[in-house]
């Protein structure tokens, strides 16, 4: 079984995020991590391979240190990696990103695409379903369980107050969320192997894409500016012992804020 995993490098959740003075961009402390949900996707791919054989390929679109995501993938046990690091690919909206990734996926036959539910930088949650549509495949979003048998996949995803069990024929796309598995910590020997690995790259041209179709140029959504979130006035500590503080809190909620 050939499994493709889409994984993205995002700023570490603890990185400081600031807004450039003129609002045209963000200034983010250069601390990176693999997108949390993509680690679940990767882990699931490795488990499926361990069970059914085949190979796992990790694909990422990104520049700079984005190769680290691929090396993490290899360290965890992925067989292959592919990097889309031409600047023409960058700064795209969900659609432009999904277009490039879907072409990269199509370069070789595959049975399964696994990706994360959401990238925690842009918080879009679009690429997985878009890739599925671009490849004209079914997808199941936010899965917490996945079983493969007889060319079919049975996946579970939580729905409000319960869960849905759905069945799709392969190939298909799945987006992973918390609860699917616990991602493994790569072995030291795995990390050493990954650090030495040559990472193949692919250009827009090789994917049959013009630079007009991808990245910022190919985006249908434009970022006009960044704004700071609403700032809170700062905490007001309610004084007194437990009883007094509770009474005052209730008074504030009822009389001043009228939330009750």
């Amino acid at each position: 079984m050939n499994i493709v995993v889409l994984a993205k490098q995002v700023p570490d959740p603890e990185a400081i995020v600031g807004i450039r003075g003129d609002g045209t961009g963000l200034e983010i402390e250069p601390k990176f991590a693999t997108n949390l949900f993509d680690e679940f996707a990767l882990e699931e791919a490795l488990r499926l391979r361990e069970k059914h054989g085949g190979k796992v390929k990790v694909i990422t679109l990104g520049g700079g240190k984005a190769t680290e995501v691929l090396r993490t993938g290899i360290a965890m046990g992925a067989d292959e990696a592919l990097l889309l690091d031409d600047p023409a690919f960058f700064d795209g909206d969900g659609y432009a990103t999904a277009l490039a990734l879907s072409r990269a996926i199509q370069r070789e036959p595959f049975d399964l695409v696994l990706c994360g539910k959401q990238a925690t930088d842009d918080d879009r949650s679009e690429v997985g379903p878009m890739v599925a549509q671009l490849l004209n495949l079914p997808h199941v979003g936010g899965i917490t369980k996945l079983d493969i048998a007889d060319g079919k996949a049975t996946a579970e995803s939580p729905v409000e107050g319960g869960k849905a069990v759905v069945e799709v024929p392969l190939p298909a796309v799945f987006t992973a969320q918390k609860g699917l598995n616990e991602a493994r910590v790569p072995l030291i020997t795995g990390v050493m192997k990954a650090m030495k690995a040559q990472i193949p790259k692919v250009t827009p041209n090789e994917l049959g894409l013009s630079t007009e179709e991808i990245g910022k140029a190919g985006s249908k959504v434009r970022i006009e500016q960044y704004l700071p979130p609403k700032k809170r006035a700062g905490v007001h500590f309610i004084p007194g012992d437990a009883g007094e503080a509770a009474a005052e809190a209730v008074r504030i909620l009822v009389d001043e804020v009228r939330v009750i």
Partner: protein
């Protein structure tokens, strides 16, 4: 005349709260010259019609059998198909699990731009600009679209719900004949807790963290939440310890919520948690540690033992409500 198309998501027989928020927004826009259409999948109940029709010029019910149950493929095909005949300027839907799951497919099918999980729309500007939080709410991005139609999913509790009576619009049933194209099969839907309000849509959330000490103590939170007409949320530590369901987890790897009132009890306020609740309108924190990070994000703080403060608050509210 410019048209809006609102996807109405249902919960049981009724429209979801976030759909009503959008319809309420739509109603305001009707006054400004937009034609507002709604679309609902499956079988529209009488109750639903009663709630939706006064807000719209037309409600279209797509009735294909395959739309009885949610599948991303089916809903996307149906909505895209229908939208082509409406030619709206914007397609609006709630940024719920369902909305966020299938509208990106609609965007591809229509070649439309999409902005997900939006918290504000600047209707008066041209092109229209929408605001969406990024990086877990640490910045807002203002975006516009290269062309129309464009798609916007909105975060629950971000738009005021103030439907006012209006002349009921037209109701139309329509079958698209797409059933054979859908490959996804819903095997079963298991509902464990039926009818419970989801944390993402609750007006009031009382969230407990590891400070609660054990699952049994969440009864304290349940009681307070019920009095306030709200629900109980949980931190990841609590979910990982299996004290609460994954569905209740608030934060980066859980759900993003924006209730009117968020009461954080016995939780430290790790950045991962903050990312899921920072857009709450009012935050009250109870923690015995005055240095807890949650206080950096709270409007009101009580430094104290939750096992003393919570029961006292509950008693006091009961008194006020005359219970």
């Amino acid at each position: 005349m410019e048209r809006l198309l609102i996807f109405v998501e249902t919960k049981g027989e009724r429209p979801r709260k976030v759909s009503m928020e959008l319809l309420s927004e739509g109603q305001k826009l009707r006054a400004q010259g937009y034609a507002v259409e709604a679309v609902v999948m499956g079988k529209a109940s009488a109750a639903l019609k009663e709630e939706v029709l006064p807000c719209v010029d037309r409600l279209v019910n797509l009735t294909d059998a395959v739309l009885q149950n949610y599948t991303a493929e089916g809903f996307a095909l149906a909505l895209a198909n229908h939208a082509r005949s409406v030619d709206p300027k914007l397609i609006l839907a709630g940024a719920t699990q369902v909305g966020r799951d299938f509208l990106p497919r609609v965007a591809v099918l229509l070649g439309a731009g999409i902005a997900s999980d939006v918290t504000g729309i600047r209707w008066k500007e041209e092109p229209i600009k929408v605001i969406r939080p990024v990086h877990g709410g640490r910045a807002l991005s203002e975006v516009s679209f290269a062309n129309y139609p464009a798609i916007v999913t909105t975060r629950p509790n971000s738009f005021p719900m103030e439907p006012s009576g209006g002349a009921p619009g037209e109701f139309v049933e329509k079958e698209l004949g797409i059933s054979s194209e859908v490959r996804t099969k819903v095997v079963r839907v298991e509902e464990v807790t039926k009818g419970k309000v989801d944390v993402t849509e609750a007006d009031v959330i009382v969230t407990g963290g590891r400070g609660l000490k054990g699952p049994e103590n969440f009864a304290l939170l349940e009681e307070l939440a019920t009095l306030l007409g709200g629900v109980v949320g949980a931190t990841r530590s609590v979910v990982d310890a299996k004290w609460r369901d994954q569905g209740d987890q608030v934060g980066k790897s859980g759900k993003t919520v924006s209730p009117k009132l968020y009461i954080a009890v016995g939780l430290s306020g790790a950045i991962h948690h903050i990312m899921g609740m920072d857009t709450s309108k009012m935050i009250v924190a109870i923690n015995k540690d005055s240095n807890a990070n949650i206080f950096n994000y709270a409007d009101y703080g009580i430094v104290g033992d939750l096992f003393e403060v919570l029961p006292a608050m509950t008693e006091d509210i009961k008194k006020r409500l005359g219970k």
